[in-house]
């Protein structure tokens, strides 16, 4: 069996692991457009901040990772199209790769809405790749004299803000929504985090968009204008679907996969940020652009490609992040009945619905948060545990004695 993996991010790693868990020797070829070994994409802000080094970032997996797993990796090479009938991939170099099983792990591309005058802005970048981070770093220089403007107050925009604040004269963030991190936080938590980030020195312009750029100035929808030297575009991302389209896979904003990570075309699988898949609760197709999802979908795809049987039906949104020392972990949906508790600087929001923990958010105190995440992911009936107890602190005591014996004395899961 010949395997071809297109893309070289977290989903590709998962796919390699999945294939090798079932098939120890079938040749794997990986084609990755970025000219770097596997790296932790979310680390690019930590790199700018000086919290990690280039060496460590590039050592996301050991140097001999591919060699040990029999993977031939072509880096800095793009795949141009897929011929599903002929079972081949055409690379931009002209090389043709035959496959028996193919996995699309091609991620997403920053989405840049049309903005008047944007073309004339020279010092601008997205914030998705190591090359973007290098570009941004070069634009900022070392003099701490550049004013940075970030468009988008989502996770990527704000991580970027954290990464560059100490290296810029100022950081302004413009966001169309009326609150920060609209996709990651429930509405009531946004102002808390906003205050914390503002205290660090970032300035927000919420409920606004850039109407027009002039060299060095952004004119906002609200009438104000912001002078800047360096522009970061972090409005959002779009799944990369061109390869899937060339193979005639079903595409609905993203490459549609099922819970086996199969596309609609035989022997073609897909995983990670390029996909959309049925939400386990609602059935509606949706993307889930987080690293754990990419790894787990990749692994599911890999196992199934190699003839194993793997189902991934526990996908749930989840995020762990932090800004200037304020940790936050959230998972699931922020809907249903809310339980809120506050102790000191720590905020806890639990959302319950239909005897389940639908979602939660912890700000400040995130100790043992994974116990809550597991309730969300496993859809544990709250009537089967001591919910009042676990509501106070995440703990295994809230489970029945039988369940505890399984968790702590049973075979490892």
């Amino acid at each position: 069996m010949r395997y071809v993996i297109l893309g070289g991010g977290a989903a590709a790693i998962g796919c390699i692991e999945g294939i090798r868990a079932v098939d120890a020797s079938g040749p794997i070829t990986l084609v990755g457009a970025e000219p770097h070994p596997f790296y932790g994409r979310p680390l690019i802000s930590y790199l700018l901040e000086g919290k990690t080094t280039r060496e460590k970032l590039l050592a996301y997996r050991p140097a001999d990772y591919e060699e040990k797993r029999g993977v031939r990796a072509l880096r800095g090479v793009r795949a141009a199209s897929v011929d599903a009938e002929g079972r081949t991939v055409l690379l931009e170099t002209g090389e043709v790769l035959p496959y028996d099983r193919l996995c699309l792990c091609v991620g997403s591309t920053p989405f840049v809405p049309p903005m008047e005058g944007l073309d004339a802005v020279r010092e601008k970048t997205s914030f998705m790749t190591l090359d973007d981070a290098d570009r941004l770093s070069a634009m900022l220089g070392d003099a701490k004299d550049k004013r940075a403007l970030i468009v988008g107050a989502g996770l990527i925009g704000l991580k970027c803000a954290e990464g560059i604040l100490a290296r810029a004269a100022s950081v302004d963030v413009v966001e169309l929504a009326d609150r920060i991190l609209p996709a990651v936080l429930p509405p009531e938590a946004s102002p808390i985090v906003q205050k914390h980030i503002e205290a660090a020195g970032v300035r927000f312009h919420l409920g606004e968009s850039v109407k027009r750029f002039e060299p060095g100035v952004a004119h906002l929808s609200g009438g104000g204008s912001l002078p800047f030297d360096v522009l970061v575009l972090a409005v959002g991302v779009r799944p990369n679907t061109a390869l899937a389209e060339s193979a005639r896979c079903r595409v609905e904003r993203g490459v549609v996969v099922d819970d086996h990570c199969r596309t609609s075309v035989e022997d073609i699988y897909a995983a990670g940020d390029c996909t959309v898949f049925p939400d386990p609760d609602t059935g509606a197709l949706r993307p889930l652009a987080i690293l754990p999802n990419a790894t787990m979908q990749g692994e599911t795809a890999g196992r199934n490609m190699a003839g194993g049987r793997a189902v991934y039906d526990k996908a749930a949104p989840m995020n762990a992040t932090g800004f200037w020392g304020l940790h936050m972990i959230g998972a699931g949906r922020y809907e249903g009945e809310v339980y809120r508790s506050q102790s000191g600087d720590a905020t806890k929001l639990l959302y319950t619905k239909d005897d389940r923990l639908a979602g939660f958010l912890l700000l400040g105190d995130i100790d043992r948060a994974g116990i809550y995440t597991a309730l969300v992911r496993e859809r544990t009936p709250l009537s089967s545990i001591d919910f009042e107890l676990i509501r106070e602190t995440p703990q295994l005591m809230a489970f029945s004695a039988t369940e505890r014996a399984k968790k702590l004395g049973g075979a490892a899961q």
Binding site: G14, R41, T321, G322, T373, A411
Partner: protein, 142 residues
Amino acid sequence: MKRVYVDERWCLGCHLCEYYCAFANSGKSSMIKALKDRHIVPRIRIEERNNISFAVSCRHCTDPLCVKSCISGALSVENGAVLIDSDKCVGCCSCIMACPYGALSHSESGVIQKCELCKKNEFGVPQCVQGCPNKAIVYEER
């Protein structure tokens, strides 16, 4: 692979496992030096309520959600044991978000720590097990 297993029926709630863990990973030569007058932050932690108590530490999962969620590659599996490279860790807490047992925590100095089965300290075998006076924690193949 050998793992640490806990049986709450035998747990006395004496917290000795926590002390042995803190000592084993302290790098200090004597338990007194390592623990005297200090607030310890062990990698194994006792939960207790009413008359029930039990120790919780990393289960060294065969499907380790922490490893799959780590953004820096700091967590890895070596011969079945889930290990952490603190030097690579950036403290994002994705592992804390993912672990269903609540087995990772912040150490005294604020870095993420977890049970590594004493594979990286001078003892080589789990000291919590050695310290448990009632065999409520065992290290074996299951």
